[in-house]
Amino acid sequence: MAKKVTYRLIILAILLIGMNFIYKKWFYEADLQKHSDIINLVRAIPDDADIIYLGESSNITYKELEDVDKRPISAFIGDFFPTLHTYDITKPASHAGIYKVLLNQLPETNKKKTIVVTLNLRSFNAQWIYSDLETVLQKSVVLLQPYPVLYNRFMLSFKGYDIKTEEERTQQFKRKWKKDVFHFPYAFPFKNVPEWESWVNSNGVKNKEGVFDQAAIELACHYIKAYGFQIDFDNNVRIKDFDDIVALAQKRNWNLVFNLLAENTEKAGELVGKDLLFLMQENTKKLVEYYTKKGVTVVNNLDIVANDQFIDQDWTTEHYAEKGRKTIARNVAKSLKKWYNNEYIDVNDAYKTTFFNDFERLNPWNQMHTLTDQQAYSGTHSSKTGNGEDFSVSFEYPINLIPDSLRKTVTIDAWMYQENSNHNAQFNVEVYGVDEKFINSYPIKSQLNKITAWQQFHLTIPLPKTIKNPNFIKLYLYNTSETTIYLDNFSVKFE
């Protein structure tokens, strides 16, 4: 029988190798697009990228009404290095465990890269480690693991990843909170998070008028649950993830930066007090020391963003308004100077005069919902207009950042694809001042003489001198017809 079984095991092994080949050749890509489309974020990074920023929602969240410049932290970093190619990989709710899988997918090139990885203090907390979002996140990277593709698909089919119900995860972090005992260097009355939270719950928090405030109590409890921990460097799973990133960076010869995000320490101090601030600062200090020793450049932003720059005032997040994002970007950019001193321009004097969007990444220009994969001049996406979708992805920029002498004209280059020529689509340029505006339209038909083919569109126009204090420019394709027109590789240059 042993011979029979061995013989069959050999056949099985050969079959599995064949199956792996068949799967990789004909099915893997479709599965990737279906179950792990996160890979497209990595694929959109060109080989010549110099700086790659990995972030979560902190990178792309902005204040809808108040932010003039809604661009992400990564774009602001790019402003300091106008001659370098800065890109971002942004996946909301992700953490080092996800970043390391994505970084592993970056193709090896000869060009030396700098990787800036978001280091979120809360991501070391049990509530995030055992978050119910984790199942979906883990599932999204199963196919990207560094094993044979058939094995990865097998793990996906047999649910071979960290899969738990919401209730199980809640139990996990509650157990962890209970188990983790605080070690303060001074006498502290509470043993762990539940005790501390329970005390705040029953003793309350007073507002500025000295009145007990239920909303403040709830928020204080959130802060305790979010930051009331001391990182166990030997066992914390997130530490292991960051360690893996460090090892990968060393192997691939990358410059590695950990961008330790700002937390609302002002609010934490006001609601809970110095003990919570002590924990936040202690964890930060230890993280900075630990990774600096490993050769990583750690940018400590913990308390550099003021309370008013935190968008979510009733929750613990790292979502910043424009000034907050810019402050962090400046800090990161300064840390990059040691590698790119010649390319660095201080942002006070800096002006970004060229802009480009290939619509492949989460670059928060407006009208991003028009992105489609039906047509693309390059990559896989373009902006689709027509049939009720009148506005393409639009470029919006605080033009007052650019010196007067360098914004006399604006040049637009883009690729367009028209399904037929029955339209009167036009390219619109809008410039807004404090009390005045300039709006002009330029028909595109004269430049597009082919149908169902990509053609280049070029437009150079002088910017109005009449508007004395222009603070905003808006550029977009306007198509009210029933003809579909796609727009791709949209570049803008001020001269």
Partner: protein
């Protein structure tokens, strides 16, 4: 621990290797420990219920065995019934009963309400309760000698392949096999793996891929056209069949590897010519349980026709209620009873012969008729409430409704479903493992390769637990 999980893929080989590696006298300990571990993977605390049920029925059995008459044994049987059915009632039916009593109390204007308990239904409670009850009842009637070895009895109650969703085995069939010395045999290995492979294929590739489309329809039937709702309803017929049949095959295959034969639970039920035959082919271990422990004690067919009709109705309604504490299951069971009686009386009246052995045109027509009946009755089974079931029926027969959404089922799913239907026809009155015996080596491995590749590559990535686990 689900059969279609990495945990089970590791667990089963470890248990099998240890089973054959250790001396026979210790094997029951290994299997019992493995079975309890298997069960505790769901919720550790609920293993206490199995242990308690085991201990009570074990001692009730021994005590009953010592008593000479049924009359003397009756109090002990009652103790066993009260404990087992009481536990089942508490966890499964109490909330249903209290909600309905509260509704009634509201109607008559009283204020007193029974509380609703927040208890999680222990996985497989209906299955192991019926299994252990069959033993106690058999001892009571003197059909079975009481087991004197607590370990083997505990293993009979909790044997992991069939613990959570059957097949519901009888003591006289399973325990002698558990006690018997089994050698590792290539034939058992081969047949066991074949059954596991086919079982996983129909569960993970067919049932789970259909499940997401069925869920779309049942979650929002009014958003789809009547044709789409009809498609969803028919898809459910295949989903539940493949889900439960797949589970049963993995259970039978897992036991087979260790040399233990579990009873077949399905024999191509959708090829049945009438409802009576359908129930001889669907969930056979439960149907025979109800036949032996409810239908026969009620008098079976050796009573007046009206009493017999009543017995049939009782059996089907109780069978429906066994599945779940909801009016939908009661209606589901009752409908089977009604159709069964109509078919039986019509056949008797017209003296129709429906016992064709092979496929004929008549057989195909009758099978389609039965399948359509069964499919529409499943609507009650799948719906969360009677109202939801009527919404589904309304959506099917509202031909003018224009769906806001469209049910797009990929070609691959249709192809796999067609392949399954074809294989089910080929398996008419046969089992997958024996069918392959007649196929040459290369052909067999071609089939294995297809099944294995499909399981890995075409399985749904969503999580759909076995439907019958909730019972």
């Amino acid at each position: 621990m689900l059969f279609n999980s990495i945990d089970f893929i590791l667990f089963l080989p470890i248990v099998v290797v240890l089973y054959f590696a250790i001396p026979h006298k210790f094997r029951w300990i290994l299997l019992l420990a493995a079975s309890y571990y298997f069960y505790m993977c769901w919720k550790v605390e609920y293993v206490l219920l199995i242990v308690l049920s085991t201990v009570i029925d074990f001692y009730m059995g021994i005590l009953m065995d010592k008593l000479p008459t049924q009359k003397a044994r009756t109090p002990l049987l009652i103790v066993s019934l009260i404990f087992n059915l009481g536990t089942l009632f508490l966890f499964k039916y109490y909330n249903f009963a209290s909600e309905n009593i509260n509704l009634l109390v509201d109607k008559i204007g009283m204020n007193h309400h029974l509380p609703v308990l927040n208890l999680l239904l222990p996985v497989g409670i209906s299955f192991y309760t019926f299994q252990t009850l069959s033993y106690t009842i058999d001892v009571y009637f003197g059909r079975q000698k009481a087991e004197r070895h607590l370990g083997y009895f505990a293993l009979y109650v909790s044997f992991f392949p069939q613990l959570v969703a059957g097949p519901i085995e009888r003591f006289s069939r399973l325990t002698p096999q558990l006690k018997e010395f089994h050698q590792l045999k290539y034939e058992n290995l081969s047949k066991g793996f074949r059954l596991i492979l086919y079982g996983l294929f129909i569960k993970m590739v067919i049932a789970d891929n259909l499940a997401s489309y069925v869920d779309l329809i049942y979650d929002s039937p009014t958003s789809y056209s009547s044709w789409d709702v009809l498609k969803g309803v028919f898809m459910y017929s295949f989903q539940i069949y493949n889900d439960f049949y797949g589970y049963s095959l993995v259970a039978i295959g897992s036991a087979k590897i260790m040399g233990i034969d579990l009873m077949d639970n399905f024999r191509t039920p959708y090829l049945a010519k009438n409802i009576m035959e359908f129930w001889q082919r669907w969930h056979i271990s439960l149907s025979t349980w109800f036949r032996d422990y409810l239908y026969f004690p009620l008098g079976g067919n050796r009573v007046t026709k009206s009493k017999w009709m009543m017995n049939i109705a009782i059996v089907f309604i109780v069978s429906g209620f066994w599945h779940g504490a909801n009016w939908t299951f009661i209606i589901w069971g009752a409908l089977y009873g009604v159709i069964y009686l109509i078919e039986k009386n019509t056949n008797d009246l017209l003296k129709l012969k429906t016992n064709h052995t092979d496929f004929s045109f008549g057989h195909i027509l009758l099978a389609i008729k039965t399948f359509v009946f069964v499919t529409f009755i499943w609507v009650f089974f799948r719906s969360q409430s009677v109202h939801e079931a009527f919404v589904i029926f309304n959506s099917i027969f509202n031909f003018h409704a224009v769906g806001q959404l469209s049910l797009e089922i990929p070609a691959l799913v249709w192809i796999l479903l067609a392949l399954f239907i074809l294989s089910d026809i080929l398996l008419y009155n046969k089992r997958f493992d024996t069918l392959l015996d007649n196929i040459p080596f290369a052909g067999r491995w071609l089939i294995y390769s297809f099944l294995l590749f499909s399981i890995i590559v075409f399985s749904s990535v969503e999580i759909f637990p076995f439907i019958y686990f909730q019972f």
